[in-house]
């Protein structure tokens, strides 16, 4: 038999995460205001990662999910996008933000996280019984990820070690297929994360994420040409959840902003359409 989730959450009981205002964007399938949406299609909640806000998913994926009949939502973690920020922001606060938004959705949701957002989703899955979880180019931290970031962008990464902001370069995020002017425009929107000096350190020493509650199935999606997440990390994360990563060669880290954004999101929706949940 499988083991039960952790019962004792002393930290959350005695020292709850500080609340913030959260930005949530949505795209609904046509006719949903009349209640025609497919009852069997769960709502989707997209969680962007470091430096990205809800806008990153509103750009292409939200609308596309809605046209395929899903209610799609995208949120901004605290310190990102139009969400508020609070002192002492940690990965625990990110996971808290995800569970808070998920529990406000009308029905049991699918959590889809990107980058550090995927780690927040991984932790949220251990708290909230999602219908399924999808980890897109997941940054689960550890030494390997840190070295990859250092090699690809030393100037952006080193300040974070000393509590400064973690910078991300265009070349790290986008594949070659994205037109240069588009990439420049997105790059301008990828902002620093406000007031979370602890998070990069936490990423370095991150603990193993707990098993999802309610046995939610988990899919890992990534690219072997991702400059942020090495292929080995993708495989490691997928193995943790008992599978192999679904790979899209040639794409950059920001798969949802890539010129080929349609391919991964269609693969995710196809996986969700299958009747295994």
């Amino acid at each position: 038999m499988t083991t039960h989730p952790e019962i004792f959450r002393w930290r959350d009981w005695a020292d709850p995460v500080r609340p913030v205002q959260r930005e949530v964007l949505t795209s609904q399938p046509a006719g949903d205001e009349l209640g025609h949406a497919d009852r069997h299609k769960p709502p989707l909640l997209f969680v962007p990662g470091y430096g990205h806000g809800a806008w990153a998913f509103a750009e292409n994926w939200l609308e596309h999910c809605a046209t395929r009949g899903y209610s799609a939502y995208a949120m901004s973690l605290r310190g990102h996008g139009d969400s508020g920020s609070a002192p002492h922001t940690t990965l625990r606060a990110y996971a808290h933000d995800v569970v808070q938004v998920a529990a406000r959705l009308p029905r049991q949701a699918v959590l889809i996280g990107h980058g550090v957002g995927a780690l927040a989703v991984g932790r949220a899955l251990a708290r909230y019984p999602a219908r399924a979880g999808v980890l897109v180019a997941p940054v689960f931290g550890g030494f390997g990820t840190a070295m990859a970031a250092l090699l690809a962008n030393p100037a952006g990464t080193i300040p974070a070690v000393f509590g400064g902001r973690l910078g991300l370069r265009r070349g790290q995020l986008f594949g070659r297929g994205l037109p240069a002017n588009q990439a420049r425009e997105y790059d301008k929107r990828v902002g620093p994360n406000r007031r979370a000096p602890l998070v990069p350190w936490q990423l370095l020493v991150t603990r193993r994420t707990e098993r999802p509650v309610g046995d939610a199935p988990v899919l890992v999606v990534g690219s072997p040409d991702d400059k942020v997440v090495p292929r080995r990390s993708l495989q490691k994360v997928a193995r943790r959840y008992g599978g192999a990563p679904l790979l899209f060669p040639g794409m950059g880290h920001d798969m949802m902003l890539d010129s080929r954004w349609r391919e991964p999101v269609d693969a995710i929706l196809d996986w969700l359409d299958k009747p295994h949940h």
Binding site: M1, T2, T3, H4, I7, F8, R9, W10, D12, W13, A14, D15, P16, P19, V20, H96, V99, Q100, A103, R104, L105, P106, R107, Q108, R127, Y128, P129, V213, G214, D215
Partner: protein, 467 residues
């Protein structure tokens, strides 16, 4: 009575639309029956579903929320009811209350929360409203025949067979009424707190509130603001914990101390010291010195009672000795003349649809269950929510439901192992899950420390999972 085809009765198979009309019990033999759709029932349905069980839940009212639904005639809530445990302890661990809600939500928010839980996890298809369970009797094969009828007298009885039954009928709806000498001759009005709904009932009256539980203290505080006089009768001195200490909800500070795994005596010392420093010496207000340590009675969380004592709007009095035609005499000989007496004397658990021996009921009428949950004689019978914890109860109900689901799954998947487990543990009834020596009273036999109880649940789950 007409149903549409999708909801043709839980027994509705495709072939025969109304098999339950037949005299013989219809088969839901692989399903679990949950009785009641309050907080305990809802989390039982949700967690049993998550473990793959088919579930039929019967609810006598037309909505969810049980005691927390003020529309229900058995609901004990009054207009001003707020939670007495803060959000992190009250909420279900896998479905947090919104960040935008206060530390101590109002009862209408609690109901909204339960309704959201019901919708979010799609429980609607598993709950039968307006349906009352009148009889649960064990069958030869280890299951149960459950007899149900329309709660408002509509529809005929029908009986269905289930593999297991989870009783979640609540324990705060059947008033416990004390009897005092001369009570029947009293000309003023006497009501039980279950009939207290709104502060308007107190306006301009001389009011006596009997009982210093959380409800009694709440009503005394309202009487202090609305009534012309308020006497508050308690039979012993209590520890009145404020809702906030050191700028934080008191239960969060309490758990900080728990988390350090300090011994009970040290925790009691710290608690006493905190109360002495913040609330102060209550005997100054004429209250008796507590005759027990904290954790030895159900905690009272009320910051305002002491405030109004200090303003002279509440007069503390001891236990009632007798009633006369127009007055009430207390054990210290004092006599007062109230117009309205509110008995905040609590509730008693009741299980009318079950033979007492199924729940191992003792001479005093208390079910003696394993982990306050499992019947020691019928392995497929469980009670959910029959707990008086020193904190929020929803989280305990959740883990209780997980434990019931894990147990039923073990019985289903590995009957031999389940049998061995059962033989080893069935006798462990009447355990306390409370290191403190709890004072005798009619409800304190199921008073548990949330930490001790969850540790026992954790240990049980580990053992079942390893079996």
């Amino acid at each position: 009575m007409s149903y549409d085809s999708r909801r043709a009765g839980p027994a509705g198979s495709d072939g025969d639309a109304y098999p339950w009309r037949a005299a013989a019990p219809t088969e839901r033999a692989h399903n679990v029956c949950v009785i009641g759709a309050g907080a305990a029932g809802l989390t039982a349905v949700k967690n049993l579903r998550e473990y793959g069980f088919g579930v039929d839940c019967y609810e006598r009212e037309t909505g969810v929320g049980g005691a927390w639904n003020w529309r229900h005639d058995r609901s004990p809530v009054y207009a001003s009811t707020h939670l007495i445990s803060s959000k992190p302890f009250t909420q279900f661990p896998d479905f947090p209350m919104p960040d935008s809600w206060p530390d101590y939500p109002h009862h209408t928010q609690v109901l909204a929360y339960l309704e959201r839980y019901f919708d979010h996890f799609g429980l609607r298809d598993h709950i039968w409203f307006g349906t009352e369970v009148t009889q649960v009797s064990p069958t030869q094969d280890g299951g149960f025949d459950v007899t149900i009828s329309g709660a408002r007298g509509g529809g005929s009885d029908r009986t269905q067979r289930y593999a297991a039954v989870v009783v979640a009928n609540g324990h705060n709806w059947s008033p416990k009424l004390p009897s005092y000498e001369g009570m029947t001759d009293f000309q003023g009005e006497i009501i039980h707190s279950s009939q207290y709904k709104d502060a308007a009932q107190l306006r301009g009256k001389r009011v006596l509130v009997v009982g210093a539980g959380n409800t009694g203290c709440d009503i005394a505080v309202e009487a202090a603001q609305q009534a012309t006089r308020c006497w508050h009768s308690s039979r012993r001195g209590y520890w009145y914990a404020p809702k906030y200490v050191y700028g934080r909800p008191a239960d969060q500070i309490n758990d900080l101390v728990y988390a350090l795994r300090l011994p009970l005596r040290l925790r009691q010392f710290l608690f006493h010291r905190t109360l002495k420093r913040t609330v102060g010496d209550l005997t100054r207000f004429g209250l008796p010195e507590p005759d027990h340590k904290v954790y030895e009675t159900h905690p009272i969380a009320n910051s305002q009672l002491v405030y109004y004592l200090g303003h002279g709007s509440i007069t503390p009095v001891p236990d009632v000795a007798r009633f006369t035609r127009d007055s009430v005499e207390f054990t210290d000989g004092r006599v007062v003349q109230p117009e309205l007496v509110i008995l905040s004397t609590g509730y008693l658990p009741r299980f009318e649809f079950l033979a007492p021996e199924l729940l191992n009921v003792d001479a005093e009428g208390r079910p003696r269950l394993n982990l306050h949950t499992f019947s020691p004689t019928h392995p497929s019978l469980a009670v959910a929510g029959l707990l008086q914890p020193d904190g929020g109860v929803f989280s305990l109900m959740h883990w209780q439901a997980v434990m019931i689901a894990t147990w039923l799954q073990l019985r289903d998947q590995a009957p031999d192992k389940a049998d061995r487990y059962w033989r080893r543990h069935r006798g462990e009834t009447g355990l306390r899950f409370n290191k403190a020596k709890v004072k005798q009273s009619t409800r304190h036999w199921f008073e548990v420390s949330h930490v001790e109880y969850l540790r026992a649940v954790d240990k049980t789950l580990r053992e079942m999972e390893a079996a």
